[in-house]
Structures are given as C-alpha cells and as structure tokens.
Symmetry: C2
Subunit: 392 residues, 2 copies
C-alpha cells in the first residue's frame, strides 16, 4: 500500500430541517458578509432560499446573492462572482445547491484569495495559496463537492472543462438535509447515484497500493448506493433511501475510499469531461454511457480488481474463469445502469458524434491529462479514441 | 435513522517515516513552544523521541518534555502538565504514544484553555469552552484518540475513571507510521485490536436509527481487523497488517461507524472502566473479558443486530432460528478473542473480585452512567451486578 494523507475538516450537519442552523454555522466560522451562490430557480421556487435568508436576517448576517450556476459551471459566472464579492466586501461564501453551485463557489473563493486570473489554477499553470471560506447547503447528492477538495469549471471559449483540487477549498461546513433532494427529477437522482458510485469505482480499479479496509468500505458503500438507487426509482420520497445516498455521496469523494491506493484511475471521468464540455450532457449519465466500454477495454490489465468487484459489489456467482467473472460483473453493472434508466452507450445518452468529433474529444482528453493517464490501464490518445468509438 | 453531526478535522499523515514531518505540521497549526507528552520509556529507548526533538531543533521550535502517562492515565500527571505548560508558556501539545499519552494531553489542553479544576469536566460538572491545540505521533493502534473527541482520565483518589468528550480536543494532526507499532508486545497488539473492534461494536449493537451505509462500513471494518489481528499473531512485523489495524483504529472511533444511530450502547466500555479503575487491567483485555457475558445478557433485546453481526461479521452459517444464529455469532466472537489470546472472563483476565468488590463496581458503574444506560438493552445497577457475577 502507499502512504497517504487524509483530511476531511468539513463539519457535517445531517438531517431534517438542518438548514435552520445556517446562521449559527456561518458565525462559528467567522462569516459576517456572505455571497449566497446558487444555480437555477429551484432553490427560489422551493422556498429554500427564503428560509435561508430569513435565518440570516434574524441573525443580523449580511449577504448578496448570485444565481445562475449551470451544470458544468461556467468561468464567466465565476468572474462575475469574484467582482461582486470584491465590491460587496464578502468574507464568506455560501453555496446552496449541488455540485455546480459548490464548484462555482470554490472557484470564486480561489479568485478572491489569490492574485491574477483564477483560470490559471484550472489550466495547470500555478497553485492556489488559499480560498475564501465556504459553507454548503446541499440539495443534490452526486458530486461529493460538499466535502471534497475538488472543483470542475468549464471555460466557455473552446468549451474546455477542467478540474482543480486543493485542501483550501474543502467546505467549512455542509448542511445535508435529505428532504431537500426529494423533489429532484428521477433522471437527476439516477445521475447522482451514478456519479457517487463512479467516484468510488475510479479509486477502486487500480493497479497499486490497495488496502483491505479501504476496499471493504468502498464495497459496502457501492452495495448501499446500488440498493438505494433502485429503491428511489420506485419511491423517490423514501427519506431513508435519500439519506443513504446523500451520505454515501460525501464519503465517496472525500478521500475515504482511496486511502492507501495510487490515487485512482479516473479515466472514465476524463473521457466524460470531454463529452460534458462538448455536449453539455448530465455528468452522471455521461459516466454511465462510457464506463462499460472503458471497463471492457481495460479489465484484462486489472483483472484481480474486476473479479473482486464482480463478487463483492455486483454479487455475481463465483463460477468460471477470472475473465468470465470479471465480464459478468461488468455486465451486471450495465444491467444496473439500465435498471435506473441510465444510458450505457453514447446513442442512449443522446449524442452521436461524427468521426471528427470523436477525434477532437480524444485529442482534447489526451492534452487535458498531459498525454496519458490511468491506473487500471494507462490510456493514450489512440486508446481514448478506441473507447469513444466503441461506446457509440 | 437519527440526525447526526460528523466532524473529523484531524489531518492524518499516514505511512513510513511520517514522523519526520512533525515540525512542518506543528508550524502549519501555529505551534511555537511545545509540550511533548509521552508515556513509558519505550519512545525514549526506541529513539523516536530523539528523532522528534532533532526534527524540532532543526526547525527552531522550542519544547519541554513530560513522560510518565500510564495506561488509565492519572489526574495527578495532568495537573503537573498544566503547571509545567503555564510556566513554560507552551502553546501547542504534542502527544507521542498511544491513548494514554493522547488522553492525558487532551486533559492538559482542557486545563490550559479553561479556568478552574479540569476534573470538573470529567465529573460532569461543566462543559469545556476550548482546548489547547494538540498533535499526535501515534505508537499504538487501539483507542482511536488520535482522531476522536474523547479522553479518559483516572482520579487516583477512589480510583474514579471517567471520560469527557468535546470537539475542541480533536487533534489538529495525527502522524501515523505503522512501523512504530511493530515492536509492541503481542498482548498489547491484541488488546489494541479488541479495543478497535469494540469501538465499532458499541455503536453497532443499538436499538435505534441504524443506517445501511454505516452498518456496511462497520462490518467491513470489523472483518478487516479480525483478519489482520490473526495475521499479527503469526507475524507481528507484517507492515500491511499493522497499517490495516492502525487505520481501522482511527476510523472505528472518529464517529464514522456511528452515523445515523442513537449514539451506541457503550455498556461494555462502562463495565470495563470500573475494572480498569479498580485493577488497572489493560483496557482491551478488560473489554474482551466482559463482552461475551454482556452479549448473552442483552442479545434477546437487540436480536436483529446480533443476527446481522453473526452473519456479516463473524460469517457464521445462516442456519437455525434467529436466536441460534445470534448465539453462534457471540460464540464465534469469543473464539476469536481466545485465538488472539484475549480473555473471555474475569478469571482469564487475572482478577477475582470478591462479592463486595463486584457490588462496589456495579454501584460505581451505575453512578457513573447516571443510574442506567444502554441501547441494546438498558442496564441498571442490578443488571450490572448480574453481568459482573456471570463474567467471573
């Protein structure tokens, strides 16, 4: 196993009506003037934003608001947020929403705590030296950004989607009320469950440094999300299932499921990022559409892990050769995706790239990862193109 | 399930030679003058203390040292540490050792950050309002104090052993090098594994608010420790097994394995605390000596959990009635304790209390928990006496 660092300082307040604690949490972490950053109008229509501002008003905490964070959040809005915060002397960021609002807020936080263009960090040009403190009220279980060090921003010019990670951006607190996720469209719920599982699976399919306890936690998390995703297909208002998925979303991406390994594979994410950048598809659906093809392309290079996954997560029968068991596990995972109405190829995802577009995505992906990447199997531009083609 | 808070801010640096990072970590958290607090002479004899002070000297960080923290650490040394720190203007505590040194340092930290007698907190008289910042270099995988909010101190007068918990005392960083645990006596290693499993089991055997994901993580953790405890019986120098157990020790008591439940049962710990106070037995061994009797006394009141434990942790055959499966799980756990040379009753633990001593322990235990306690089954003084008697 490898040495590792584990750092998850985010204070999680989990349960019903926990958003009512926002003012005391903001005070605890020293916020006096907030930017409340959110996405679409759902937090307005649901009354959540009003409940939050009422709570802040009662506590005498000032704030300005900025909506409009879209899925695959845009750099333009980040710049807008930075300017607004400077003008209003904001000293604390409050993201109300899912990964888009949180990631956008993290980028705004980097912009405020560092000189120069914030895109430099996402463009691998330099490292951030800080981030304005950030709190979260989570309304969507998916990206795990509420406890993670990572954020993903899309630059509109050229539709370049890039991630940047540093401990500075880990939220100070995360308010997690599963009830806030109950009104999500079924498609978004399923996308979220897929994203959660993929955060763990990216760390699971590796060729280096695995720990037994990390595997046991990862497998338990994956079985839990699989089961509760199916429950939510039938009964989207099941509080317990919402809670299981919501908490799993944080644990899947705060570092816990990667302790001791080599950092993970992450190629499914990188391949999907190009899809997301070019077609603006939902991130979770894009991952589901790519994963099966990726898995078949790499499994022979990471066979023991695919066998373990098949037996301990997908619970396939322990029968036949290792290759047969591994393939049965991949098929079972694709069957699961279909059972929660997720796509398992690009056509089902609703995109039909031309050969030139496939080549463009493979090229951008290869450039984005610095030439080659992957732990289950190292992939180069040619491999990326092969996977994109086979996933049509 | 219940609402919960989850807060584990400790920065964990895990792996070989990580103690060499102590100076940069102390600086990161603002320490300029340290108390290095440790237990017996083993950290001196092993050269660890010298390596730590060399590292601090090179970085120009001042320090004073205080050894002598014993298992079931004493209040007297806590008072001594507080006085020393005041005299030397210490602003950061560094515990080098296991739970005894860490718990003792936490109590010193409370004493420095609060007016009045530090024992008040352990005596349930008032709540702490802060704690001097604390870092840890861990040399023993057991109590989980390196990430936990808890500490246990024994007042010499009357041998009163009490715990106090608050987030203020969660260490700022924990340096965890599994190699530092390789020279432990086998008995201490086994005691540590028992303590780690019991921290999770105390949270597992409850009658309220369980989450599927918490159960899955707890069961995975327990299976991992069970397997690696057996490995360490055969090969105490197995690095990977040491690492699995060490990381499990932190996760077993940082809150992760209790999210969503009612707080846990904890009566095995409370019953053992009286044994530890009166006879100064090793904490892990005391827990093993009590658990089986406790389990047989309460299992009918918490049957579904004992069945789940039997099947998913002890992996007994799914055959017979629920009661039979539950009892088979308890027996399997006792067999496991014996296989790592842990006692399963008081005689094997090496203590033979008189009837008066049993009554005294039951009385002190009942007073200590405020009359009654337990989630698997609520126990009163009479029940505690029954369990002590049956565990002879």
């Amino acid at each position: 196993m490898f040495d590792f660092k584990y750092f998850t300082p985010t204070k999680v307040i989990f349960g019903k009506n926990t958003e009512s604690k926002v003012a005391e949490l903001v005070k605890e972490f020293g916020g006096t003037k907030l930017l409340i950053h959110y996405g679409g109008g759902s937090v307005v229509r649901s009354g959540l934003l009003k409940r939050v501002t009422d709570c802040l008003d009662a506590a005498g905490i000032g704030y300005v608001t900025l909506g409009g964070a879209v899925p695959n959040p845009h750099l333009g809005l980040v710049y807008e947020g930075i300017e607004l915060c400077k003008k209003e002397n904001v000293d604390f960021l409050l993201a109300v929403g899912g990964g888009s609002a949180i990631d956008s807020a993290k980028a705004i936080g980097y912009g405020l705590a560092n000189e120069g263009d914030v895109w430099d960090f996402y463009d691998y040009k330099r490292q951030a030296k800080g981030c304005l403190p950030l709190g979260v009220i989570l309304t969507l279980a998916a990206t795990g950004s509420e406890m993670s060090d990572s954020s993903v921003i899309t630059k509109e010019e050229g539709l370049v989607k890039r991630g940047y990670s540093s401990d500075y951006a880990r939220p100070k607190f995360a308010i997690m009320n599963p009830e806030l996720t109950m009104t999500l469209p079924d498609y978004q719920t399923a996308c979220g469950c897929t994203d959660i599982m993929m955060h763990t699976m990216e760390r699971y399919f590796t060729n280096g440094g695995n720990m037994e306890i990390t595997d046991a936690l990862a497998e338990g998390l994956l079985r839990t999300v699989k089961k509760n995703a199916l429950t939510l297909c039938k009964n989207p208002k099941d509080y317990d299932a919402r809670a299981e998925v919501m908490w799993a979303g944080s644990l899947a991406h705060n570092g816990l499921t990667g302790c001791g390994n080599d950092g993970g594979d992450w190629m499914t994410h990188k391949l999907e990022h190009e899809l997301g950048g070019l077609y603006d598809v939902a991130h979770g659906a894009g991952l589901a559409a790519i994963w099966g093809t990726w898995a078949r392309y790499v499994y022979k290079n990471c066979l023991p892990r695919f066998v373990k996954f098949a037996l301990n997560v997908m619970e396939v029968e322990n029968k036949g050769s290792d290759e047969e068991i591994a393939l049965a596990g991949i098929e079972a995972m694709e069957d699961f995706y279909r059972s929660i109405n997720m796509p398992t190829n690009l056509r089902e995802l609703g995109v039909e790239p031309t050969e030139d577009e496939l080549k463009l995505m493979a090229h951008k992906c290869a450039v984005g990862v610095g030439g080659q990447m992957g732990s289950a199997r190292v992939l180069r531009e040619e491999d990326m193109l092969n996977i994109y083609r086979a996933s049509m």
